[in-house]
């Protein structure tokens, strides 16, 4: 059946609007990308240049080597990956307990886990920092990762999903003589692939973006993360910021989370959709 003309016009308008939106929203990043390809002088030209230059790899190299982004990149990767993975595992275990067992105090403990959402870093920042100092974890991977290992989002997400898993599955497992943990690892976890991927995207991006915490718990260049590296680049110059190198730094900073989001976008969207179906 052919679409009537009015619908066609509407579709065309929608396309145009969407394309315009994509361009407008992406423009700041485009401008940043262009600046990352310019030389120091070119970046300060007036009127500003809007077409790419030829210094991209030079600037990337400056950021990577001179500004030590190589090490920062490594640190960010280590902490984002490890926290995302540990958070997922811990959330899976906890959600499993809350949905497949009845035990005394479950309600209270569950409520306690939910409270974490109301305790973001700033409401406890000084004592947590002091704790890191007391543990001698300052300027180590421990301080950057362990305090993040618990996640309300994860527990909620998996709990919701586990509740929809039919009882028959666990019954069948029990009949086969499998204990709960075997059931967990061999049946439940594989079943949760989509949610795991969605949570991975959320947690990886969350950890990769961390700024305030790494700012205060790291002391030296070898433990810092990419986000702080950007700040150091901008703040280090007494005269004029090297925008071209700084933008190259932002390119380096943008790639991993973007990659994670793009590669796992289907699972991410599905996971969100599942959560919205209350």
């Amino acid at each position: 059946m052919k679409k009537p003309d009015r619908n066609r016009r509407l579709a065309l308008l929608t396309h145009l609007a969407l394309i315009a939106l994509v361009v407008v929203l992406a423009f700041p990043v485009y401008y940043a990308l262009v600046t990352s390809t310019l030389s120091f002088r070119e970046a300060y030209q007036y009127p500003p240049k809007l077409l790419p230059g030829g210094e991209f790899w030079h600037n990337i190299h400056e950021a990577w080597v001179r500004a030590k982004f190589a090490r920062l990149f490594f640190n960010s990767t280590v902490i984002s990956l490890s926290v995302a993975l540990v958070k997922i595992i811990l959330s899976l275990l906890a959600a499993f307990a809350y949905t497949h067992f009845r035990f005394r105090g479950a309600g209270l403990l569950f409520a306690l886990s939910m409270i974490t959402q109301m305790l973001p870093l700033p409401v406890r920042i000084l004592p947590t920092y002091q704790l890191m100092a007391d543990f001698h974890w300052i300027n180590t991977y421990y301080a950057l990762t362990v305090p993040f290992f618990a996640s309300t989002t994860g527990i909620l997400l998996f709990r919701q999903f586990f509740l929809t898993v039919p009882r028959e599955l666990s019954d069948a497992a029990r009949v086969d003589g499998a204990g709960p943990m075997r059931y967990f690892w061999q049946i439940l976890v594989p079943l949760s692939r989509t949610n795991i991927a969605a949570l991975f995207v959320i947690e990886f991006i969350f950890m990769w973006s961390q700024y305030l915490w790494p700012l205060i718990v790291t002391n030296t260049a070898d433990m810092r993360v990419v986000q702080i590296g950007l700040k150091m680049l901008i703040a280090s110059e007494q005269i004029a910021p090297e925008w071209n190198v700084i933008m190259a730094g932002t390119v380096i900073a943008m790639v991993p989370p973007l990659l994670v989001l793009v590669l796992l976008r289907k699972s991410f969207a599905q996971g969100i959709a599942m959560q919205s179906e209350k």
């Binding site: 509407l10 579709a11 929608t14 969407l18 939106l21 994509v22 929203l25 700041p28 600046t35 970046a43 300060y44 500003p48 811990l90 275990l93 906890a94 809350y98 949905t99 497949h100 067992f101 009845r102 035990f103 403990l109 886990s113 409270i115 974490t116 305790l119 870093l121 700033p122 409401v123 406890r124 920042i125 000084l126 004592p127 002091q130 704790l131 290992f149 618990a150 527990i155 009882r167 029990r174 709960p180 973006s209 700024y211 305030l212 700012l215 950007l230 901008i234 925008w243 700084i246 932002t250 989370p257 989001l261 793009v262 976008r265 991410f268 969207a269 969100i272 959709a273 919205s276 209350k278």
Partner: protein, 297 residues
């Protein structure tokens, strides 16, 4: 409602929740309690001397014009991020929710800003608005010759620019959730409304919006968390609270008092105040979510 699916394991569930709870207790709950406790003291920079002062830190904050100014700035900033952010994202999500080709590509092309960190967003927008060299001041100078748009010396402008940058970064996130929420609205409802002769505005007001309310309340809360806390990196990179405290959000003021002024009592008091605000918002959201959810069914 929870069924015992694996009877005969009295200890296992406790072991399963133990790691999470341990982390939560040691790194979240105990430090928060210490924040509360510490807010009743004043101590020297090196911690060698502490004096109990009761509620004096709180009194000082509430009578301090600088702190109240911070509150106002935070309110303005978050209102902008929430109102502009949610409206724009909803509009875009509704556009995306049409049955047209290339949807997948559009989706990713509009959602990807979610992966950008606040610090990166701040860096990019700092470049855009850099007074002597950025694109936007140049554009403005074309329209108003001789005028240099300098957000480093113009407080309201600086607040506007950081609000814009923060909202821009959050659009992707909001769009994802709105889209999911929209796609969950059964077609029968919107079709029935159309059959009944309701125009797009009425459909939107009486079907779409109410059906979206769980998503909306969720996003309201998440955007509020974002505007209160996660934008720290953006502020630190762009303005450091300036010019002249124009962008001195509550969280930034807290950072300054804690780590630059080394005033732990005052900082802890601010932590507690922020917690009370967030807790209230969380409870409101919870109540709205459960109430509306029942209604939606």
């Amino acid at each position: 409602m929870i069924e015992e699916r694996f009877p005969g394991h009295p200890i296992l569930p406790y072991l399963l929740v133990l790691p999470s709870l341990l982390v939560i207790f040691v790194f979240l709950i105990v430090p928060f309690a210490e924040s509360v406790w510490g807010s009743f003291f004043v101590s020297s920079f090196f911690g060698s001397k502490t004096v109990f002062v009761g509620l004096s830190n709180y009194l000082e904050l509430f009578t301090s014009p600088d702190y109240l100014h911070s509150v106002v700035v935070t309110l303005l900033f978050s209102s902008f991020v929430v109102l502009v952010g949610l409206s724009a994202s909803l509009g875009i999500a509704m556009l995306l929710n049409q049955k047209i080709g290339g949807l997948g590509i559009y989706q990713i092309a509009l959602v990807w800003t979610y992966s950008i960190s606040p610090a990166v967003a701040g860096t990019i927008w700092a470049l855009l608005f850099a007074p002597a060299t950025g694109l936007v001041p140049w554009l403005v100078s074309l329209v108003a010759p001789g005028y240099t748009l300098n957000w480093m010396t113009n407080g309201p402008l600086a607040l506007f620019v950081v609000s814009l940058a923060a909202t821009w970064k959050m659009l992707g996130y909001n769009i994802v959730f709105f889209l999911a929420g929209l796609q969950n609205i059964p077609d029968e409802l919107t079709d029935a409304a159309r059959v009944d002769g309701a125009g797009p505005w009425l459909t939107f007001r009486y079907i779409t919006l109410p059906m979206l309310s769980p998503t909306t309340t969720f996003l309201l809360f998440m955007n509020m968390l974002y505007a209160f806390f996660q934008v720290f990196g953006l502020i630190d990179i762009m303005t450091q609270g300036g010019p002249g405290d124009a962008t001195n959000l509550l969280v930034y003021n807290l950072y300054r008092d804690a780590f630059i002024h080394l005033d732990s009592g005052r900082a802890n008091a601010q932590s507690v105040i922020i917690f009370i605000v967030i807790a209230l918002a969380a409870m409101l959201q919870l109540r709205a979510a459960t109430r509306k959810a029942v209604y939606a069914r």
